[in-house]
Amino acid sequence: MLPPHAFARNSTTFNRSPLVRCPLRDGQSLHDMILLGMDGFSQKYERYVIPTYGRFDLDLVRGSGTHVWDVQGRDYLDFGGGIAVCSLGHAHPLVTEAVSRQAATLVHTSNLYRTGPQAELAQRLVEITGPGKVFFCNSGAEANEGLIKLTRKFGSATGRFGMITFKNSFHGRTMAGISATGQEKVKLGFAPLLKGFSHAELGNIASVREAMTPQTAAVLVEPVQGEGGIHIGSAQFLRELRAFCDENDLLLLLMRCSADWVGPETCVGGSPLRRMCNLTGSVGPKGSPMGFRWERFGWRRGL
């Protein structure tokens, strides 16, 4: 077999595009590259992976910063970011180093025990977000699920369980998540859904009032609707929601995605949302593929 450097010199086999070729990674064998380059992964996906996604016909093997490369060595600018997850792009050296070191130290313990990294990250997130605590999970869907359970628990004291969400919203693919989501396409074929969800219009506080019932216990809103097509709730609307929730003893729950996690102020373009809105919950993966949910100490303005 040829050594890797031979392939690196004579790489026209994989140079089917005029774009930049994927540099041969240290330790990657010619054999690996040929296996990848022969047919990509499509046959195995078709045969072995449950087809829930309408995937693009693209097999990715490597990323660096804003760039990713496919099996044929084509270079792409990645403006998808793993759906707004990769805050620092791909393979940031400091993240790689931290993950590598931890992987060689302690990978997984379950939550039956305490570990230092979780304690440290919880403190950092609370310091950034506001007084409260966090729950770590695996996805935005799971974080949404947690907020829906929180709503049920919160409402159980007063016999309430309902939640107002918004048209075009997206709250994940779990049963509670699709029940909360304001798009019919995610619900088809999965009835019966969870009870108690009604959908208002983002930006229209009158529609929120109309969606209110005696059972309503919370309002769940994405300040920026992503999956629904990038619709932005104004700072004024979020303040109106805050006031509406205070008046009616409702939790105000915000689902936020990775690009706005750094502080509540940033999620409405610099408006003082934290002080005005007193977030009671927020979710989001935060730059690495994981999720968390943050809950404030109190649940009304000033608490």
């Binding site: 403006f79 993240v95 729950f135 929180l150 404030r296």
Partner: protein, 156 residues
Amino acid sequence: MATRPLSDGGLLCDLLGPGTHGTTYGGNPVSCVAGLAVLDVIQAENLLENVLTMGARLTDALRSMILSTGLENATVRGLGLIIGLELPVGLPVGFAARDLVLALQEEGLLVIPAGDRVVRFLPPLNVSADEIDAAVEIVRRTVPRVYSSTAAAQNA
């Protein structure tokens, strides 16, 4: 900060107590050190500043692209580096968001569709001005080609 907000005197963030909720992998040490490293970099490099600057650069460039490529009825909206290009209603067949995303992918730019008419741009927070410009250049040369070919096919 009041600390007795619930009717029974407890904290909201303690409402889901022991045994009420759980997850096996959540908060595992590897994911948490990754999160800490991401926070370190975002704060040390003041990336929120970059988000605002680069978000404005991308939004402005997409808006001028719209004007120069005959897509006047398209709109661009976003916040920071979450940006959507909404294609106009009454599109030619073959010019839905997914078609444009596929064409851009062929040209070396990955973006994500949202529904039939919105293309999402979600670059990393540390994206550079050169990368923004390169992405917009790909959009600028791809949109008119896809639009004119699909419009011609529809009229034929």
